[in-house]
Symmetry: C2
Subunit: 519 residues, 2 copies
């Protein structure tokens, strides 16, 4: 099989779990495959990276999913394969009538998708993507929706934290070599939404309309050395070819004793020809100590504007620690800490692209309502874990802003509720029944509906937004958060609440089933 | 851009880091782009999952890489894009001569790849993939090689540990919804090489020639409930459609009070029609406790052969703990623990497909030698970290089996050495200079060259092996290991050593550079 065929096959509509197809066939056989269903996508917990935990997430992946939905369908090849699938006794798993239905209706054109905008701040147990439409196809969408949005949200969240740790400095995603296969592409996209300026990933940069970024590797310097030449000559060759983009990796031999003096010689040559160097990169050793020393030497040599790119297993906590160390150590070394920090830029790889410490977002996709005779009937799931209870019913969600204009809570309720018109808004804890908050109308500056219809009548309801718009969504939303929620470690917990009506309905539904069990 | 074009673009030869292309152009300009180079791919540390650590890895991803290499080249679209890339001043990054060379020579047909076989046990600091050939294209291969083999090795290793924890029982990979985008496909492949029997991933199963597996979800039962019907009716509908594959998820309402009695009713109906049920699935709650209870009830109801599928954030340690708990608790509950354990099968998702706790294998690809005037000149990298020192030179690796036939050490040395002919073999610690072991010829039963030429003269040197062969490689290699190395927690450390000749050369090279630095 050639790569094109293989990718088409494994990344099209068969990029799904087997049980989606066997369940869809069961709905078909029961004649309920086109019954209108409502599925909620939400996550239950913020990423916990081990020693530290997020206080918010950044929604991402939606537009990638919509791109996929646009073309996904069962073609002859897919159907031929499914027709050949046999059970343990050698009988076909799928019947011809169902396969015929898949041929005609096996696409996502009849679904309606409501969702957050990418880049926006999101919280646990609030629906972030809602799918309505014929049961069978809404079911089949589950795996791909979860895969794409869970992963991109995970990475955008990690990127947002790392962006926070580096302030407004240049931040580049360098992780493709440690990414999970082709997942590196969606990962680079999510990293940009979450706050990275650029990525080293060439193809994905092309797809996003961004210039790909990079420096050079140790191999280049090693090559010159193996040829009997010097690190200086390697640097000079690089500078001659890229005089306007001269950023030199100085740790192949020894950063302070060899790389830095050689870089400065090259920088002086460059300047004599009318060019300004970009800077140097440090990729090993004590990055804070080295940054201070390198910064001093660059200043003394007349290159106060040359930047220092740090790389090597960076993440938000390491960058924080490096900055703290520089603030403590630079004065003892006769350097201005702020000046050292201001010239730093960051290349972040493995720990960003794999969300080190929490490598999956546990987002789930749950049936919450089924339309029966034109009315939405809530669907419930109980299971043996209280944490796995869902919020049933045909719902939506709002963000409540307080009198300061800050986001104070996300509220989940039925789609026909109007929290903005309540005199006193009651916000109930989603699990603990008697924990609640009351907000008077004058304490509320805005009630914002969180989910918009993004896919309806066969396609997008509006053009795909630009990456810049998605990045701007994040910046705007972070400004609405209390800074305690942004804290990298042990953040303040943002309120997620249910309306009185939803809580009552949930409690009643649980009671009904518990009663039935006791019978 | 349609999905096919996008995937072609982002998964072809531009699935790489920008600096590979800028360095390749530098080699081109320096006239050394076709100089023969030797790169080693190796990893430095076993995966450390937090509370526990691996004592070996399972090599995987090679055949996926070779498939990719076969077709990867710069087409008009790629070259047009690269021609348009501008630097900060608006000048083109790539010159026409280099792009023209890429058009003609920008493929991997002139490389030679030597590698381990997939499924084999591998250890740190031993080359597992070696690439020889023209410098520029060997350089450009770096990102994709690392991406594919690092990730698949990571997942095959995790799968191998999980397989170890479940003995010979059925083990299914269910993680697509939590995988990193399309990385879920390579992940499923690696999971099978590492020991999973099947995956739920439909497209990837198709590509691998395996039947995709699955049960059903909560949504199916919820649908019946929302329609005013019962869990029993949902189960019965499923059984009617899939009488030979009736595996019922029993925790939508309550596993013991509702799911299990309803499943048993359906199983009895099935049997009366001449079918045997497959079993039940538990997806929440205390899985060990529930498995004991469910096992007893199934036995009493006359279904001693019905299996119990466990799922819900399983990994090797959780499965171990569940088995220990069953051994302790089953007798107190009047059940035979071995009988309970024997009927368990496992669906493993998130923690396998993302290698929870260690989400990347830090494999690197380092220039170790360059051919100058027909002779291999060792290439060195020093950096500011002793741990980042490489083993220089045109090398290879062997596995040494002791008189019991067990693998006792991996040995790295120069390609022209012949350790099998040594009277007394000296095995040196790779970093600590005076730590060594001596093995007399009679203490050695076999010296096995580890790397085979798998790609040469434009393509594979042999047909791609079947998945069954790759799985068999793993089983064979695990049998050669001391069981202490297989231990899930705090494993015995396997020996990785250098030959005397390689150690001497390395020490000399370091000394030469240190001396030069002191000048």
């Amino acid at each position: 099989m050639d790569q094109q065929t293989l990718n088409r096959l494994t990344q099209g509509i068969l990029f799904t779990d087997m049980y989606q197809l066997t369940m869809a066939q069961l709905y078909f056989k029961a004649g309920i495959h086109e019954q209108r269903a409502h599925f909620d996508h939400f996550f239950r917990q913020y990423p916990n990276y081990g020693g530290h935990k997020a206080g918010y997430c950044i929604y991402a992946g939606l537009e990638s999913l919509l791109d996929w939905m646009k073309e996904a369908h069962f073609d002859d090849n897919d159907l031929h394969y499914l027709a050949g699938e046999k059970d343990a006794k050698g009988n076909p798993v799928f019947c011809p009538e169902f396969l015929d239905w898949l041929r005609k209706e096996g696409n996502f054109r009849k679904l309606t998708v409501k969702a957050m905008a990418e880049g926006r701040v999101i919280h646990p147990n609030v629906p972030i993507t809602m799918v309505e439409g014929p049961l069978a196809m809404a079911q089949i969408l589950e795996t791909t929706l979860l895969n794409i949005i869970n992963f991109q949200t995970l990475i955008a969240t990690k990127a947002s934290r790392i962006r926070h740790s580096c302030g407004s400095k240049l931040l580049m995603e360098f992780g493709l070599r440690r990414a999970h296969g082709y997942g590196g592409n969606f990962g680079a996209r999510a990293a940009v939404i979450g706050g990275c300026d650029y990525t080293s990933n060439v193809g994905q940069s092309y797809a996003m309309g961004l210039p790909p970024k990079g420096t050079h590797s140790h191999a280049m310097v090693q090559t010159w050395l193996a040829l009997g030449k010097s690190e200086y000559e390697a640097f000079q060759a690089y500078a001659d070819l890229y005089p306007d983009n001269c950023l030199l990796l100085i740790d192949t031999i020894d950063s302070l004793k060899s790389g830095l003096p050689n870089a400065i010689k090259v920088f002086k040559n460059l300047r004599s020809k009318g060019y300004e160097p970009v800077g140097v990169r440090l990729d090993s050793g004590d990055l804070a100590y080295l940054a201070i020393q390198v910064s001093k030497v660059l200043d003394e040599a007349g290159f106060p504007k040359a930047c220092i790119v740090l790389s090597n297993d960076l993440d938000e906590m390491t960058i924080n620690q490096i900055n703290i160390q520089i603030r403590e150590d630079a004065p003892r070394n006769g350097a201005d800490p702020q000046k050292v920090i201001d010239r730093l830029t960051y290349g972040v790889g493995t720990r960003l692209i794999t969300s080190d410490g929490q490598s999956a977002l546990g987002g789930v996709y749950k049936l919450v309502a089924l339309q029966v005779d034109g009315k939405w009937v809530p669907a419930m799931k109980f299971s043996n874990s209280i944490a796995k209870l869902i919020n049933p019913g045909h719902k939506t969600a709002w963000r409540i802003y307080d009198s300061r204009g800050r986001a104070t809570a996300d509220l989940v309720g039925f789609a026909d509720e109007e929290p903005a018109s309540e005199e006193v808004l009651e916000l109930h804890h989603p699990v603990e029944k008697d924990v609640m908050r009351r907000l008077k109308r004058q304490e509320i500056s805005r009630v914002e509906p969180l989910l918009q219809t993004v896919w309806d009548k066969g396609g997008r309801t509006r053009p795909a937004p630009s990456l810049q718009e998605l990045k701007a969504n994040r910046t705007a939303d972070l400004n609405y958060l209390d800074t305690g929620v942004l804290r990298m470690h042990n953040p303040h917990i943002y309120h997620v609440s249910l309306t009185t009506k939803l809580l009552d309905a949930k409690v009643e539904l649980i009671k009904k089933f518990r009663d039935r069990l006791e019978d």
